[in-house]
Symmetry: C2
Amino acid sequence: MKLLEERIARDGRVIGTEILKVDSFLNHQIDVQLLDEIGKELYRLFKDKQITKVITIEASGIAIACAAARVFGVPVVFAKKARSLNIGKDTYTAKVHSFTYDSDYDITMSQSYLSADDTVLIVDDFLANGAALRGLLSICEQAGAKVGGIGICIEKGFQPGGDEMRAKGLPLESLAIIESMSEEGITFRKQ
Amino acid sequence: MKLLEERIARDGRVIGTEILKVDSFLNHQIDVQLLDEIGKELYRLFKDKQITKVITIEASGIAIACAAARVFGVPVVFAKKARSLNIGKDTYTAKVHSFTYDSDYDITMSQSYLSADDTVLIVDDFLANGAALRGLLSICEQAGAKVGGIGICIEKGFQPGGDEMRAKGLPLESLAIIESMSEEGITFRKQ
């Protein structure tokens, strides 16, 4: 998605060779006009998949999920990162490893909002090692829900998550794939 | 806001006398059409306030903030609930007491995205004791930003936060105010 690549090139900040900060427009401050374009692009990519729910993980996936869901005309369900006292007992759960914090956390989703009748579009802001995505795929499997599509804003192509998902035949589309990056610049994979 | 009151009455679930679950449409599963209407209503209430940013706290405020921000044509900035390794050092911070978990947590916001040039609309899903809102007000004060409005989806009118804010002269509008509730039903405050 050219608009997103241009925005990453202009406003993204690379720290070392691993960290890309896009917090001026995607996951701390949010440019809602850009989000609308991301929502339209995800619809263009997955409009034939009979999507019934858009799912993601709190917190930075929520804005992207809402932007997509309003174009699809379906609800969002977001997985929560810790068991809330108010979430109830009937939940799907999966363990996710955070490479940022080097620790594990649980994600949970109420069984009321995802079932074998659903075909989901999974969205997230980043895909690197794929840990969060594997957690969401596990929740879909527990629910018996079909994965109609996986839409990622920014894939770190130099980390293994994306290529592993493609090798498994999962319907993954990343709107921008970073082949390499340094403080001198960012190179995108041609798609 | 009649549409929201009707939805709460239909799909909200009261547990005991304190807990109102709206996770089927507002803060776990999200009805994005309802969000759009909430965004329009917040615009109607605060459109003359020269709003430059919509701010909230992750996670459940993000969807509401995005729905409002797209109508105002301004960015969202959401406060994060823990210091992220990637957020940088130049942050505003405030301590918030969680009554749900009976513990304190910090909220943080990068100083890059809020300044004395901003007039903000603060939004959130719930207002009960006002702890989260006081944290956001503290961040606005640290930034020197003007509070143009506070827009809450559901105020628990039988808890003190909302009336305290109004007594201070803060520009608070709650789209639905619950006067009392029990498992038998919900009574809304006439507005």
